[in-house]
Amino acid sequence: MSGRVLVGVKRVIDYAVKIRVKPDHSGVVTEGVKHSMNPFCEIAVEEAVKMKEKKLIKEVVAVSCGPQQVQETIRTALAMGADRGIHVEVSAKEYESLGPLQVSKILAALAKKEEAQLIILGKQAIDGDCNQTGQMTAALLDWPQGTFASEVTLEAGHVKVVREIDGGLETIKINTPAVLTADLRLNTPRYATLPNIMKAKKKKIANVKPADLGVELASKLQVLRVDEPPQREAGVKVESVDDLVGKLKEAGRI
């Protein structure tokens, strides 16, 4: 096994920032807004770095797709302990329509090129909330997947994954190479400290174009309109059960 782990990191609007829809309803305002690494991606990076520190794997490669700014996010991953980075260049215009299917194709191509033993991703991004990229990547590669991982144990040739599911916890054993997606309780990510940020400046980030990987970025999905969720309206207090029934009938509910 190559001992190489590919970690996908996404640059998203910081979770504490109030989102604003663009006046033309084509998307949300991102210009000048505070961005940071997707929290689940931080957990993915941490897991990979931990594996390297335990000498279970040899190299952690951080990948991000997007315009120039995603390099900051890759640098943060490098500062957390990734060895090198890959920036898949996507223009700002194309980025607007970049979705999980395109990213999965890119990651699948990179995994083959880098002969990765594992791909670790966050379970979902907090902007799209799609929760699809990990699963699609595994399907495209025909690799097993361990999603919503809250505990990962890497052993020779396979990996034991404890998954958080609706019913509780499920433990599975899957062969490597595999795709894992990180859930909240997998670990607590370390801080990217300043000395490590300085060292990260010396680590390499390779630039790659999707076309070089044989990936077509055209999306079959088109965003028609983006709106804010409707304002929550105040409830109405009723005095009696008859009142309640009356109001429900008025609203056509019964």
Binding site: V17, P23, K34, T193
Partner: protein, 619 residues
Amino acid sequence: MMKPLSKQLSDHAAELRCPRLDPGALGVRPTARRWASSDAPKITTHYSIHPRDQDPRWEGTEMERFADQADVVVVGAGPAGLSAAIRLKQLALAEEREVRVCVVEKASQIGAHTLSGACLEPSALNELLPDWKERGAPLHTPVTEDIFSILTEKHRIPVPMLPGLPMNNHGNYIVRLGNLVRWLGEQAEELGVELYPGYAAAEVLFHEDGSVKGIATNDVGIAKDGSPKDTFERGMELHAQVTLFGEGCHGHLAKQLYRHFNLRQNCEPQTYAIGLKEVWVVRPEKWRPGRVEHSVGWPLNRNTYGGSFLYHLNEGEPLVALGFVVGLDYSNPYLSPFREFQRWKHHPFVAPTLEGGERIGYGARALNEGGVQSIPELTFPGGILIGCSPGFMNVPKIKGTHTAMKSGMLAAEAVFPRLAVLEEDSAPSAGLHVPEYAESLKASWVWKELHAVRNIRPSFHNYLGLYGGMVYTGIFYWILRGKEPWTLKHCGLDSDQLKPAKECTPIEYPRPDGKLSFDLLSSVALSGTNHEGDQPAHLTLRDDSVPVERNLAIYDGPEQRFCPAGVYEYVPTDDGAGMRLQINAQNCVHCKTCDIKDPSQNINWVVPEGSGGPAYNGM
């Protein structure tokens, strides 16, 4: 023998408005005690109050820090800090020298903690980067209309903006200062400045001889109760030949440096104001790009200094930046600057602009009002103070950006020729003392400008308050250009000005209507502020018992009202028997008002983990 007229006037002005604090009347101020009294709940857990070398939970923790050597370290990537960094690199380039300049900034990205009106006078920018237009500096809105009003509850008295009055804005630009600062950051990076946003300077480091050696960034991974977490890591030390401190108004490291080097022995205490600001998208028919509006008067009474601003930006969208400034020398503990701001928006002259619009930003920051009288010693061995930290704001113009930038540039020009070429592995054993900076500042237009307006703010301290001040400005500034031979004094510390609550009348504020005026918490949400929750509160109290025993008992807890972010709340204790102070540190927007206005001077704002704080976007 008669005192000279100038002295009589200054003394008289000082006596008239400023209450002489009698320590006996209010109870002796508690001396700073290390440990809270036994029945007060423990609030503060920060190591600056509870040292870790005496804390058993920290035994065995590795406290060694990684250190690196730069030529110049700049604390704060604001207009002053970035101008200094850019100027240093320009000088280095011109002389083909290598100078390592590192800038640390507590905000997660450059500009995220910047908040200002702002009407920029481009003088300093023209000197720093004359081709700013070609480089794409975000100065898109020249001022086209300048309106000044005195507001009464229902009406407006227009005041002509004659050329020569300090408030006249001809030739200036309305800017979103956060965007300008971000652009300055890009210019700095192009020149090779090392920018480190997300890392706060938490500690000043000293050489053996007592000179400043540099700074250390914040530690990370300390739990809310003050104990180390698994993720604990020490900050990093950045050593420099000289350190420029540009923390902005009321910096926490500057506060330590004033005490350490006794820099304020020959100046008056700094006086401040709090500025609250919102950004609105207004209806296109209300939009007047380039229009600048200022007002004084309602809703403040004539003895409370303050006023409003409302600027129409011209950047594509119909955006309006508006806000309210309240002098922090106000005396009524029931005054809430936030609620004064909210109710001002309902004035018949203001409301029509905002009707049908949408609020998209909110924030607040303290600003200096002391002028030349309050400027401390600016240099000390190993360090220099630049920008709003020592305080170069021109108060009647309400502009401090141009003077801050110029001070940064002058600092760079004074420091550069003194920098030694450091050999590999050699480090200086003493910090540079560069008094040439202070001299060049005093000889520059910054000093001339500040000197001319030095008496305007203190002239408000008279029985007629606002109106006396305006008369004074009209006569002595507009006609005589500030050439009068006397210098009026301020009133002393802002924190000494509050009267006990029982001597004051509570103010009835109208409820927010949710369309023009809003409640505090939804406003704070718009600032995008957040902090890692599991860390010690960075609003530290020297004595945990003082808030209830003194602030609440005597002043009815003014921190509940002057904090623009809802950090301080007095809530009933669990047993219902009394009250306790709850500190919601996560809400903090780093405005520094509490550190300034706390009548007990018990609150000490220290820097939280880097990246925490507001996420302003072009404020």
